[in-house]
Symmetry: C2
Subunit: 116 residues, 2 copies
């Protein structure tokens, strides 16, 4: 329990962050896509379509389509589960790891710029 933040700082952080992401990224990820991406990169594997859908409280097609999109961007990749070939395991990619790392650094930088 360490990161203390006042509401005004929180809102400015949120604003600056969204501003930055909207401003330069032509094709920005939606909130759902970011949540999926971060879930895969932060929580322990394996990640299945069904599991992600349940965790995010959305339907399975939403996950399938998000994987299509982010797969095309090479931020994530599908792989069939060899043990149970009905399952699809969602895995990280080098490009995705870089993207996530950049995202984290952006938040850190914006937080550091916040006024007291």
């Amino acid at each position: 329990m360490a990161v203390d933040l006042r509401p005004s700082q929180a809102l400015k952080l949120l604003h600056d962050l969204n501003h930055e992401m909207v401003r330069d990224d032509d094709r920005d990820l939606s909130a759902r896509q970011i949540t999926i991406l971060l879930t895969v990169y932060l929580e322990p594997p394996p990640h299945t379509v069904r599991g992600l859908a349940a965790k995010l409280n959305v339907t399975k097609p939403v996950i399938t389509r998000a994987l299509d999109t982010m797969g095309r961007m090479e931020l994530l990749q599908r792989r069939r589960d060899p043990a149970d070939r009905r399952n699809v395991v969602v895995q990280r990619t080098v490009k995705g790891a870089l993207y996530v790392e950049r995202l984290g650094d952006l938040v850190v930088a914006k937080a550091k710029e916040l006024p007291l």
Copy 2:
């Protein structure tokens, strides 16, 4: 320069935040809409369509449509500038202020829960 955050904490914060917003809001605001909303609520008025478009680096119709949408949600309201009736000033609403306040509190709460 006060709010220190490690990248792993930043990513978890981002994840938890997006997760929360995706999970319960059926109809979530886009990154652009959130940026517009927070700009109006955090930066000093007046806010015009043209000004917001320039600040966010998007076209004017994007702002017009966002105002349509968020106006229907009563998070913002338009008003004609009496001094120059070509201008539209974007103003806050009670409902919008509550929404923004809730958003700020959510970030604060999620930040407080972060592991050291």
